[in-house]
């Protein structure tokens, strides 16, 4: 006999047997599990001479890379499975986890398939990692991409265009196609299509969280790490169209927005643990590297590179890595909560992640002022124990459930 419970906690929709979404999720899961990057190898085999370029998780202009005929590959660290041996010998214990697993994988040859790496300026750790990369792999291309913190197009924009051209020229010199307006326009269009597909997925999570639990949405977005935008869009669209046919029923859960995981990713089981503790994650900042721009990029502009740069200046998502100059810290998060009709916010930042952790007190202040309940904890990508996190998330959902979201 199964234990009676007042709440059905299973995060998976019922009716798994003939789940209309199974193929899409299966594909995403396969890509997620492909830590050896076999799919990138296959892509390269199918496109002789084309380059695959890795990049760290944030604000990387993937359409530019696509326009150069490259496959952009988002590098998200090693997750739970990778044993860290050499990685730890490069980083002290008080540095977050993602650079060590990235180094571990690189040293063990997993990234040999990548012809280069782009390190956008996320934080000092990634910045220094770019230098380490140059020392460790002197033969491979490694670019540090400085993102302007001045958002005036004639100042910061001008600098950023220089940066983009520099990288484009470097890559062309290494065998990528030359920068070409038509190709870039097409890449922007593909990116826009992908972004719209992600937006549809997000909308589905908000209306019918049981049809698309966060742990699945996570896999679906993550699938795009090593896919061209058009292909990723197709996968997402397929899922979104099939999802309404899924069976299942709503659960007595609370709705939360999760914030702080824009760079190092939590283990998938942590997301599942949160769901088991009674939280529907209806919005998040996971894997922002794949969705850094809000709204469409102007795909018909006469100068598409300038349009791409402008999109970063005006439509770049608010994250901790970006200087917010107006007195509205936290506004973006509160908007997100409202748009998602969430009951509260869960901060889940990677341990030792300076950008996220330095931001957090300011965001908390903003939430407290707005009367939005929140809770916070830290994780590492290879955490295996979720006891405390479950306790905390559980207490949070208990209190929202027993006493309502409002105070």
């Amino acid at each position: 006999m199964t234990p009676p419970q007042d709440i059905q906690r299973s995060p998976q929709p019922n009716g798994r047997g003939n789940d209309p979404c199974a193929t899409f999720i299966g594909r995403a899961r396969t890509l997620f599990d492909d830590k050896a990057l076999d799919h990138v190898k296959a892509w390269k085999a199918a496109h002789p001479g084309a380059l695959a370029i890795g990049h760290m998780p944030i604000y990387t202009p993937r359409p530019l890379l696509e326009a150069l005929g490259c496959l952009p590959v988002a590098v998200f660290g090693g997750g739970e499975e990778v044993d860290i041996i050499r990685g730890d010998s490069y980083f002290q214990s008080y540095i977050c986890h993602i650079p060590r697993s990235t180094i571990e994988l690189a040293l063990s040859g997993t990234y040999d398939v990548l012809d280069g790496m782009v390190f956008p300026s996320i934080c000092d750790v990634i910045r220094n990692l770019s230098g380490m990369w140059k020392m460790l792999f002197p033969d491979r291309y490694a670019a540090y991409l400085d993102l302007p913190q001045n958002f005036n197009s004639s100042i910061g924009g001008r600098f950023y265009l220089h940066e983009l051209r520099r990288i484009a020229n470097d890559l062309t010199a290494r065998g990528a196609l030359p920068l070409d307006d038509d190709r870039l326009c097409r890449a922007l269009a593909d990116e826009n299509r992908r972004r719209r597909a992600i937006a549809r997925l997000d909308a589905l999570r908000r209306t019918d969280p049981w049809r698309c639990p966060a742990s699945e949405a996570y896999l679906l977005v993550r699938a795009g790490a090593g896919l061209l935008a058009a292909e990723h869009a197709e996968l997402l669209e397929g899922f979104v169209e099939a999802a309404p046919r899924r069976s299942g029923r709503p659960l007595d859960n609370v709705r939360v927005v999760l914030a702080g995981s824009f760079c190092e990713q939590p283990p998938l089981d942590l997301i599942v643990a949160l769901e088991k503790a009674g939280c529907d994650i209806v919005d998040d900042d996971f894997q922002l590297g794949l969705r850094t721009i809000e709204g469409d990029i102007n795909e018909e502009a006469p100068d598409p590179l300038a349009a791409l740069a402008q999109a970063f200046l005006d439509q770049g998502r608010a994250t901790a890595s970006r200087y917010i100059d107006k007195d509205e810290k936290g506004r973006a998060l509160i908007d997100q909560v409202q748009a998602a009709q969430a009951d509260g916010v869960v901060f889940a930042a990677a341990s030792f992640c300076d950008p996220a952790l330095l931001d957090q007190p300011m965001l908390e202040t903003a939430l407290a002022k707005a009367g939005v309940p929140f809770t916070s904890f830290k994780f590492a990508e290879n955490n295996g124990q979720f006891q405390t996190i479950r306790e905390q998330a559980g207490a949070f959902s208990d209190s929202v459930k027993l006493w309502g979201a409002a105070h």
Partner: protein, 447 residues
């Protein structure tokens, strides 16, 4: 970037230059304390890439929160301040300078001389070489609600300054920073006055470089790390571009010259270090809460520090940079770009190796501080690369800037000692004459 730390100064007899520095600082803080009543405007900014000449040319008063934090550390106040900030929701994991500053603010903003610091009228966010700066001033902005002006200094990943980088900074100075400062000062920037200041900067810089290079002597007349942090006080902070700074470095230089003439080493907490058994180069900031204990670990083993990178965070003058009066904004851009932590790892490794060679060091030592990713991420690679390049062994410890919880004295002492004994043992290798393997070992009943 330490200024003379008042009563926690080394037990050593004070030199004239030290007394002079103390007076300069005292006067500056007195000015700050009266800033509001005198109608003077206050600008908070950071040490690396600081625009002191520009600020003072407009008669604005600079405050450097990093220096306040490190002095709180030396005065043993930091633990309480950090606890205060953590209580307010700041994470255990982040830079303790920020938390120390926030805690100090929450406890009444009493500066190192016991006087209250004025609130900022402007936050000049010189974002150079450290990501935390950005968040730090976002946080202060929430507390003070005053305007912030951002100067984004691009990073030098390959040790090369491109025209685009320089242009980006000059654009920002011209269009955003200078106008904001002028607005605050209520007057136009007098560019000739600025040029004059830059000339004075260059004079002081010449003498400072002379002092650094004096460490090539044996024995070295200076300690380029522990004493070095006092030497950089004036030039990295509010005094660059002033006659005071010029005079200070002239005086310092004459004192060092006198020590060279007398064949003497620097003064340390353990007295004069004339008999120097080991010469070291140090990478990374010192620990401020146990500064003298830390120094003592080296001086008691007769180790002198001949050069350090920390004393270059506010400018690498010894590589040839001087402020140039002929191109005021351009030279400021070059200055910002050239700070030590704004350099890519390969350049930092080159620099360390250069110091080891130029100053004929027997080893190099890394103090890796938990707070500072800018410094610390990658130091383990630096350790190996510098060993490879120079053939001298490196030592490594972990501590923190101003959080006493992360200064495990016994553990650190054990490592420092093991490291220094290792250097000694390598020199005494001829003494190990015991046969490598002997067969007549006993497999006794009890083993």
């Amino acid at each position: 970037m330490a200024e003379a730390p008042g009563k926690t100064a080394p037990a050593a007899a004070k030199d004239d230059s030290q007394k002079r520095q103390k007076d300069m600082i005292g006067a500056h803080f007195a000015k700050l304390a009266r800033a509001k009543e005198n109608g003077q405007k206050v600008v908070y900014t950071f040490v690396p890439g600081n625009l002191t000449e520009l600020i003072t040319a407009l008669d604005l008063l600079p405050v450097l929160p990093e220096i306040n934090a490190l002095q709180s550390g030396m005065r043993k106040k930091s633990a309480v301040y950090i606890a205060e900030a953590e209580k307010a929701g700041h994470s255990e994991d982040v830079c303790t300078y920020v938390k120390c500053d926030i805690g100090m603010l929450k406890s009444g903003n009493i500066g190192p001389t016991g006087e209250r610091l004025p609130e900022p009228d402007l936050l000049l966010l010189s974002y150079t070489g450290c990501f935390t700066f950005l968040k730090w001033f976002e946080l202060l902005q929430q507390e003070y609600h005053c305007p912030v002006v951002m100067l984004h200094v691009p990073y030098q990943p390959d040790g090369v300054v491109t025209p685009a980088m320089r242009q980006y900074i000059v654009d920002q100075l011209e269009n955003e920073v200078v106008p904001a400062l002028e607005k605050l000062a209520g007057k136009k920037l007098d560019r000739d006055y600025l040029a004059e200041k830059l000339k004075l900067s260059a004079q002081a810089e010449d003498d400072l470089v002379w002092v650094w290079e004096s460490a090539r002597h044996k024995p070295s007349p200076i300690d380029g790390y522990f004493a070095g942090v006092y030497y950089i006080g004036p030039i990295f902070s509010a005094f660059r571009g002033s006659q005071d700074a010029v005079d200070y470095y002239r005086l310092l230089r004459s004192e060092v010259q006198a020590r060279i003439d007398a064949g003497k080493g620097p003064t340390t907490p353990d007295g004069d270090l004339d008999d120097q058994a080991v010469r070291l180069v140090v990478e990374g900031p010192p620990n401020w809460t146990s500064f003298n204990d830390f120094w003592h670990m080296f001086s008691k083993e007769k180790a002198v520090i001949v050069a350090s990178t920390y004393t270059r965070v506010g400018g690498l003058y010894d590589l040839g940079f001087r402020h140039d009066a002929a191109d005021p904004l351009g030279t400021l851009a070059d200055y910002c770009l050239g700070c030590y932590t704004n350099l890519g790892l390969p350049s930092r490794i080159e620099l360390l190796a250069k110091y080891v060679r130029d100053y004929s060091a027997d080893g190099f030592f890394i103090n890796s501080v938990k707070s500072c990713n800018s410094f610390s991420a990658g130091q383990l690679l630096m350790l190996r690369e510098v060993e490879k390049k120079t053939g001298v062994p490196g030592g490594f410890i972990e501590s923190d800037l101003v959080d006493p919880r992360y200064f495990g004295k016994a553990n650190i002492e054990n490592r420092v000692q093991s490291y220094l004994q290792m250097l000694h043992a390598r020199r005494d290798r001829s003494l190990s004459q015991i046969p490598a393997r002997t067969t007549a070992g006993v497999q006794g009943v009890l083993s």
